[in-house]
């Protein structure tokens, strides 16, 4: 600057405001747990966002190397604690792949019911919490009202409301109780029309669209590059869903089910239901689309549960008796990914022939989804940071494990 002192005008217009380094989290209302974002801000504009993780690390993987696979099931509950059932499912399938266990027909349909109900419960939180991130409180409570009913159903099935440990290697800890299916159907009948209200409050709300459209736009290529999965990937228009494209051991659960992957093709989402139209302001891959994919998956999950209930009630076999607690694992290594609500949840297991795994590893979907934050948030406003992070719908328990 010293060289320019001669020209007074330069000095005059060389006023710069200070950059401020702000910690958003780990104790912050909208970081979904204990995520810490370090924001470099210039006034309201965020020039750089750096996520810091590790505040919820509980050594789950290491614990898995000291317990038998069935004993480790409760630890998977605590990974994505909003979708414990889907975590159970991922680990169970992984162990079954190693021991080459075949499930009875009925157990498969039971798993579809439970997994899709888990997806429903998880997306409801995702939806409600996203409303909170954008400053509207009520949808959160509406979402929890419905989620409570799903949790009631889960409680009836397995006795727990958050950490279920219901699906285990071999099948499930118990069959569904009598009358459960009727209650489940009653819930779905009540819930399905209510979704329109959520669309009115959020999806099609003018302010909501203003806050989410064209914010945090992620191209399909970028989503693939960062390894994003789940609704985040599909929100960017990439047609990929493990329920259709995954391993046989996983996709056979969904054999014969009619469902279409929720993704925008040629500017349109699958027209199975009466969805509100996509607003003009939105761009494929923005926060609105990620949210919308989740909303459509809720409808899809309802449909899948209905189909599964029909099949379950006519299927042969039992619910799948769990393997022994100290089941000897054959020597080898397996890796299996499932489509959890937040993306692809992979479990990796190496066995040296004892009943306790030699190595356990979990591949978290949220970790990859979170990794795009820095890029998406560059140059946005402070208010957009919760909007973008919320649209990724992360759960820190899964990232830190």
């Amino acid at each position: 600057m010293a060289t320019q002192v001669d020209d007074a005008r330069i000095i005059e217009f060389d006023v710069r405001t200070d950059e401020m380094l702000v910690n958003m989290g780990p104790q912050h209302p909208s970081t979904h747990g204990v995520l810490r974002l370090v924001l470099r801000t210039d006034g309201e504009i965020v020039s750089e966002v750096e996520p810091h993780i590790g505040y919820l690390h509980r050594c789950a993987e290491k614990i898995g190397e000291n317990l038998t696979p069935r004993q480790w099931i409760p630890y998977t509950d605590r990974m994505d604690y909003l979708a414990g059932m889907n975590m159970n499912l991922g680990w169970s399938l992984c162990v079954e792949k190693l021991i080459e266990h075949e499930l009875p027909e009925k157990a498969k349909h039971l798993r579809v019911i439970i997994a899709e109900m888990g997806r429903l419960a998880s997306h409801l939180v995702g939806m409600g919490a996203y409303g909170l991130d954008l400053g509207t409180f009520s949808p959160f409570l509406y979402a929890f009202r419905e989620r409570e009913r799903i949790l009631d159903l889960f409680e009836e099935a397995c006795g727990a409301r958050l950490t279920y440990s219901y699906l285990t290697p071999g099948g499930a800890t118990a069959d569904l109780p009598n009358g459960w299916l009727q209650k489940c159907e009653a819930f779905l009948d009540q819930f399905e029309p209510v979704i329109q209200e959520y669309h009115a409050l959020l999806t099609t709300n003018a302010i909501f669209i203003k806050r989410t459209a064209n914010i945090g736009v992620m191209s399909g290529e970028m989503a693939v590059d960062y390894g994003c999965t789940g609704p985040v990937l599909r929100g960017s228009g990439v047609d990929y869903d493990l329920r259709r494209d995954g391993e046989d051991r996983y996709t056979e659960l969904y054999d014969g089910y009619a469902f279409e992957v929720i993704v925008q093709r040629d500017g349109h989402y699958p027209k199975d239901h009466d969805y509100p139209a996509v607003p003009k302001e939105t761009v494929l891959g923005d926060c609105w689309h990620r949210f919308y994919v989740r909303m459509l998956e809720v409808v899809q999950a309802i449909d899948l549960v209905r189909q599964a209930i029909d099949r379950y009630s006519t299927a042969s076999g039992d619910w799948g008796v769990p393997i022994k607690l100290t089941h000897k694992l054959p020597k080898g290594e397996v890796y299996l990914e499932t489509e959890a609500p937040r993306g692809q949840m992979g479990f990796y297991l190496v066995s040296d022939g004892s009943s306790i795994p030699w190595r356990v590893r979990a591949r978290s979907s949220c970790f990859c989804n979170l990794s795009v934050t820095s890029e998406l948030c560059r140059g946005c406003l402070i208010a957009d940071v919760p909007a973008i992070v919320g649209s990724l719908d992360i759960v820190m328990g899964e990232i830190d494990r």
């Binding site: 954008l134 409180f137 009520s138 409570l141 302010i207 203003k210 208010a383 940071v385």
Partner: protein, 450 residues
């Protein structure tokens, strides 16, 4: 009121003024504090019902109506923390600035015909000016907290409230223009009669202006969807992040105080003030007076020894006071409806982003307010017929009201002149003597009333 104490109760003039001021202060502080108490409770109930839950149900028996008081006791008992990095003096001062501004503005807010702490012929201007001071509270709080989130909140508040003052002012000017006065009592009285006389229904432009006013008022008191200064999902709690206990609650008293204030102002400026949609207050008062009359007579008898000439109060005056009381309830109801609408909006809509808030203000509110202003102006200038010109089957229309107001003002001025220079004939017994009003005023002004 000072005249009453002076002439009727024979108090020395300075004391009479002081007493009148104290009574007004105490009444208003109760309106603000009790109002906040009720509105916080109402907010919790309204939000509870909107969100499919019950809200408070326990404290105070039915409906948890004492919940806010319990919260207040909790807040008083909480530790008063001043952060290490805070500018202690400003930090402690900030909540009081906000509360004092919100409270002061009530001085000029009439609750019914003539029921106002201080008659001001510039009441509208005074309220806007004092409300403008309120913005210093969040700015000071945010600046002095020593927290980055607070600072963000303060900057947002400064940007937002200062911008919204512009369209707010433009909206407020319209009723003043139509009525030709800044006196809120007059503006209220000119809307007497049925609801067709309300200024919001004067012409299409004033209706638009009323809507814009409500939007801007919501923004200027920091209510959702414009509550950026305390956006919990972005700024933790914004400017009051570091506050605790009683100081924190002062921010809320100020917030709810100003909420009612702007709603009340909307009621007076656009929605008839203390006049109901159908002018039934006076007939009812006429009936009530039959019931109240004997009680008043007993009161007169009992009070006779201190207020010797209270007996001169005519029966019509009692009826007027009853009508005023009903008008006051009417006004409180209208203000509460405004506050409830704000709550409804808050619990329904997502929050706007700061740039969208500014866009709403500068690209929508200001032009629409300007358009409405010009429209209403031409409507007045060309004397386009309004609903007000309809022959009213019941009650009176504005021009009649205006005339009666002029007559009334002349009468009041006369009474005032008489009161400050009482003739010995009116005051038997010991006389305080005559003095000139200018001397009293200067005494009060200098604070030498004692």
């Amino acid at each position: 009121m000072a005249e009453f104490f002076h002439t009727t109760c024979h108090l020395p003039a300075p004391l009479a003024y002081l007493l009148a001021a104290i009574i007004a202060c105490v009444l208003i502080i109760h309106v603000v504090a009790v109002g906040a108490l009720i509105f916080i409770w109402l907010e919790r109930k309204v939000s509870g019902r909107i969100q499919d839950r019950l809200g408070p149900t326990r404290v105070g028996g039915a409906f948890g109506w004492l919940q806010t008081l319990a919260d207040g006791i909790k807040l008083i008992a909480k530790e008063d923390i001043t952060p290490k990095d805070a500018d202690a003096m400003l930090f402690k001062l900030a909540p009081y600035v906000g509360f004092a501004a919100s409270y002061c503005a009530y001085i000029a807010l009439p609750f019914s015909d003539g029921w106002v702490a201080q008659h001001m012929n510039t009441a509208v201007f005074f309220i806007l000016a004092v409300l403008g001071i309120e913005v210093f509270s969040p700015i000071l709080a945010g600046y002095s907290s020593g927290s980055k989130w607070s600072l963000f909140g303060a900057m947002r508040e400064a940007a937002q409230v200062v911008s919204y003052e512009v369209p707010l002012g433009m909206c407020v000017v319209v009723p003043c223009m139509i009525c030709g006065t800044l006196n809120l009592v007059t503006i209220g009285n000119m809307q007497a009669g049925s609801f067709t006389n309300w200024l919001a229904f004067n012409d299409p432009f004033t209706f638009i202006i009323a809507c814009v006013y409500f939007t801007c008022a919501t923004a200027s008191v920091n209510r959702a969807p414009f509550d950026l200064a305390e956006a919990e999902s972005e700024l933790v709690a914004g400017f009051h992040t570091e506050y605790s206990g009683l100081r924190w609650s002062f921010f809320f008293m100020a917030e709810y105080g100003s909420m009612f204030l702007v709603s009340g102002l909307a009621a007076i400026l656009f929605f008839g003030g203390w006049h109901g949609p159908i002018p039934i207050a006076e007939p009812i008062a006429g009936v009530l007076v039959v019931v109240v009359e004997p009680l008043v007579n007993i009161g007169r008898y009992l009070l006779g020894f201190i207020a010797r000439d209270i007996g001169k109060v005519t029966d019509g005056a009692v009826a007027i006071q009853i009508a005023n009381l009903m008008g006051c309830l009417n006004f409180l109801l209208k203000g509460t409806i405004g506050v409830t609408v704000m709550m409804w909006v808050r619990w329904t809509l997502p929050r706007l982003r700061i740039d969208q808030v500014m866009t709403t203000c500068l690209k929508y509110c200001v032009p629409i307010a300007a358009f409405g202003f010009v429209g209403a102006l031409f409507w007045q200038v060309f004397e386009v017929p309004t609903l007000n010109d309809l022959p009213s089957p019941i009650g009176i229309n504005r021009s009649v009201a205006h005339e009666s107001w002029v007559v009334e003002a002349d009468r009041e001025r006369e009474i005032r002149a008489q009161a400050v220079t009482p003739s010995p004939a009116d005051l038997p017994g010991e006389s305080v003597g005559s003095f000139d009003s200018a001397a009293v005023d200067s005494l009060v002004m200098k604070g030498g009333a004692r």
